[in-house]
């Protein structure tokens, strides 16, 4: 049997397909996994680590785990039998506390409404098309105010709920969101003061920022819980949550101020000079020329600070506020659920990961969208 051969004139042979080893998945694997001996070893090492960690974790967290039908850890163990998986029942069992803390049962709809309003506000702020409509924008400003009255109560015929009943995810959101939104304007003022040509302003702003950044947040929270009452007029009784909110806000303001200062420093002097040449006043030039550019380049840093602040809300548990971690620690301190610390920490960890990872992805997206191509 002879293969059919065709004669081509010299140089007229049609292009042959590339050798199978130089395209497609084989080529990719050769380039990315087995390009050298050491690389091959590292690949197998990596795969081995994945094999060591991932299947046991999936087995523990999903396959062998128990969610429903157990009222205590003992019952969990009974259901699981030989395979020891995670006992998620306590999360299910105490779900109400994880979300609302000790907010009275019959008033929880108020928190639900506030959650929905907050979600709407965030959606409006993030989606450009919605933001363009004035009525919607006004609603976005009103929603937090409504939420505030809803949650605190004591007016409009709503029963008052004292702050020591607040807890769980509600508390995390209150501390995190208040810190984020109140600290930003303070941070802008601090940053402008620090680079101001007026020495007194820059002196005090520098001292304030360096002091706050130089000490751990936990010491500031201790000040809020033990010392702040010394500094206030005698007889005044300041709510602990409010004291914590103040401390968290100035803490994050100091960090964001430094981020914004970096952004301001990156604006070429020509922009300042051009604003002056146009006859703009200080505030006009800041509002119209400098800050829009400076804030734009500071966005990654600002979101980074927000993520940090959101994670730091867990510290309030150390001074006795009941955020989800505090609720969970109280749960695993009971005899029913003792010994479930790993489950608790993994659960809370996943909760924070979802929000923080989401924020960091959004910041990447924003960075790409706002990149007007002036970058060098």
């Amino acid at each position: 049997m002879s293969t059919e051969t065709k004669k081509y004139p010299v140089g007229m042979h049609p292009a042959l397909p590339p050798p199978s080893g130089s395209v497609g998945p084989v080529r990719w694997m050769r380039d990315n996994l087995f390009s050298s001996v050491s690389n091959t070893v590292l690949t197998f090492l990596g795969l081995y680590i994945i094999y060591l960690v991932v299947p046991p974790f999936i087995e523990w967290a999903f396959i062998d785990s128990v969610v429903l039908g157990a009222e205590s850890r003992k019952e969990c163990l009974k259901i699981m039998g030989e395979d020891r998986g995670a006992c998620w029942s306590f999360v299910y069992h105490r779900w109400g506390q994880f979300v609302y803390g000790f907010y009275p049962m019959e008033e929880r709809w108020r928190v639900d409404v506030s959650f929905v309003l907050t979600a709407l506000t965030i959606a409006i702020v993030l989606v450009e098309k919605l933001r363009a409509i004035k009525a919607v924008l006004i609603a976005a400003i009103l929603f937090p105010v409504i939420s505030f009255f809803l949650i605190t109560g004591g007016s409009f015929g709503l029963a008052e709920v004292p702050t020591n009943k607040w807890g769980g995810i509600l508390l995390t959101f209150i501390v995190g969101l208040t810190g984020i939104f109140v600290s930003l304007p303070i941070a802008i003022v601090l940053a402008l003061s620090r680079i101001s040509k007026l020495p007194i302003f820059s002196f005090f702003a520098t001292i304030f920022i360096e002091f706050i950044r130089g000490v751990p947040l936990i010491t500031l929270l201790f000040i809020a819980s033990t010392l702040l009452s010394y500094f206030l007029p005698p007889g005044s009784n300041f709510d602990l949550l409010l004291r914590v909110l103040i401390m968290v806000t100035i803490f994050s303001a100091a960090y964001i101020a430094e981020v914004i200062r970096g952004g301001l420093a990156a604006i070429p002097t020509g922009q300042y000079e051009a604003a002056d040449a146009l006859g703009l006043s200080y505030w006009q030039s800041m509002r119209l020329i400098i800050l829009p550019q400076a804030l734009k380049i500071s966005i990654p840093g600002i979101v980074g600070s927000f993520i940090g602040l959101f994670k730091d809300t867990t510290l309030v548990v150390i001074i006795g506020l009941l955020d989800p971690l505090g609720i969970g620690m109280a749960a695993i301190a009971t005899t029913d659920w003792a010994g479930l610390s790993t489950e608790l920490y993994v659960f809370i960890g996943v909760f924070f990961f979802i929000f923080c990872f989401g924020m960091s992805r959004y910041s990447l997206h924003l960075e790409k969208k706002l990149n007007t191509g002036h970058k060098q």
Binding site: I50, P234, L325, T342, F352
Partner: protein, 397 residues
């Protein structure tokens, strides 16, 4: 037109003062100073009044009173009859210990992960990305608690522990290690080490000079390393090994002898290193990526070999970008070590800012000390940072 201008300049009204940039600046600053002074005054008068009302005296005399509490990990000798001041000192040393150990391991983790993140090996690249994203997005307090829980719950009790290597036991009361106990004459080994280091430094300088003059490269790193390791080892052997080792042995419910690393310390050390390592990995990645590819190509075009290109061209330029944020991560790690209080590791905040404060009720003074110490550490490190930045700053044209 010119007439009006002259008139405006001559009549000084409040409005014209306000329109003048310099005067307005002065006025604003005076108001700011007055405002701040009033604010501080109110706080001080409130504090004095409050302290008066509560009958609390202010002063640091309580520091010399006995502390009356135990600390489970002490680097210097301490017992409960020692003063609050000594307790604070023990706490400070514990803070510095965990910060120091954490910085070393976090740097190793961070540089490894940062470099692997840039490798063309798909598996490792993605693995490192997962490590960085997961640890960066979970609160460090949670990670500390998680590691503490894992160590306490999954390691065996001392009675059931089996030796990993001879004399090494991993238990839920800590990791027990053989402890070397220096005998008489061991001091000479330290002196030999010092001599080795001094020799290595001077040899490196000499090698640099030779290279500048003749272009010859002397193996300075190898000779230096040999001196630093070899001299102490030789001295040690010449003195007849003046070192005894104390092995941990099970007595009752716990091990006696040897050297123990407490679970609190391990959990804190591990969690802080992993957490900060993830941030350092991103810094290292950004630093290496910031060196333009043209630099490498130029070096190759000059005929510089690849490993020298890395060492003499890429790394020095990357370090200029890496080091400032790296130092600020070190500071963050030190500050985060204050979360020790959550798992009962007795650091500065847990000793003087925790138990001492609660026992004596001296909140102002105790918190003042804690804040002062942290501020001092931050200021010293940022001062060093500024010196470094000035040294490596690009001379801009």
């Amino acid at each position: 037109m010119s007439g009006t201008q002259v008139q405006e300049n001559k009549t000084v009204t409040l409005g014209s003062l306000w329109r003048d940039k310099k005067t307005r600046g002065m006025i604003l600053q005076i108001f700011a100073v007055i405002g701040i002074l009033i604010f501080i005054g109110i706080i001080i008068s409130n504090t004095v009044e409050n302290l008066d009302r509560l009958g609390v005296k202010v002063g640091f005399d309580f520091l010399s009173e006995p502390a009356n509490y135990d600390i489970n990990q002490t680097l210097i000798s301490y017992d409960s009859s020692d003063s609050h001041f000594r307790a604070a000192l023990v706490g400070l040393l514990n803070t510095l210990l965990v910060a120091g150990c954490g910085i070393v391991v976090a740097t190793i983790f961070g540089f490894t992960a940062g470099v692997l993140r840039l490798s063309n090996n798909f598996v490792l690249n993605r693995l490192m990305q997962v490590y960085v994203e997961v640890t960066r997005n979970i609160p460090v307090l949670l990670q500390i608690l998680l590691w503490h829980g894992i160590i306490i719950n999954s390691l065996p009790v001392p009675k059931k522990a089996e030796a990993l290597v001879e004399g090494v036991f991993m238990t839920n009361r800590g990791v027990f290690l053989p402890q070397p106990i220096p005998q008489e004459g061991f001091g000479w080994v330290w002196i030999a080490l010092l001599v080795g280091i001094v020799f290595a430094v001077f040899f490196k300088r000499y090698a640099n000079k030779v290279q500048m003059q003749t272009g010859k490269l002397l193996p300075a790193i190898w000779i230096g390393a040999t001196a630093i390791i070899g001299l102490p080892v030789l001295t040690f052997l010449a003195l007849g090994s003046p070192l005894e080792v104390s092995y941990p042995a099970l007595k009752g419910f716990n091990f006696k002898g040897g050297f123990v690393v407490k679970p609190e310390f391990m959990a804190l050390w591990f969690a802080l290193s992993i957490y900060t390592g993830a941030f350092i990995a991103e810094i290292v990645r950004a630093g290496i990526q910031s060196v333009s590819h043209g630099q490498t190509e130029a070096a190759h075009a000059l005929g510089i070999r690849p490993n020298f290109t890395m060492r003499l061209v890429v790394i020095p330029q990357a370090l200029r970008v890496i080091i400032p944020p790296l130092i600020s991560q070190y500071l963050n790690l030190t500050k985060n070590s204050s979360l020790a209080i959550a798992i009962g590791y007795m650091d500065l905040v847990a000793t003087i800012g925790g138990i001492s404060l609660n026992q004596t009720g001296r909140a102002l003074e105790s918190m003042g000390i804690v804040l002062g110490v942290y501020l001092f550490i931050s200021i010293v490190i940022s001062a060093l940072m500024n010196v470094y930045n000035k040294r490596v700053a690009l001379v801009s044209r």
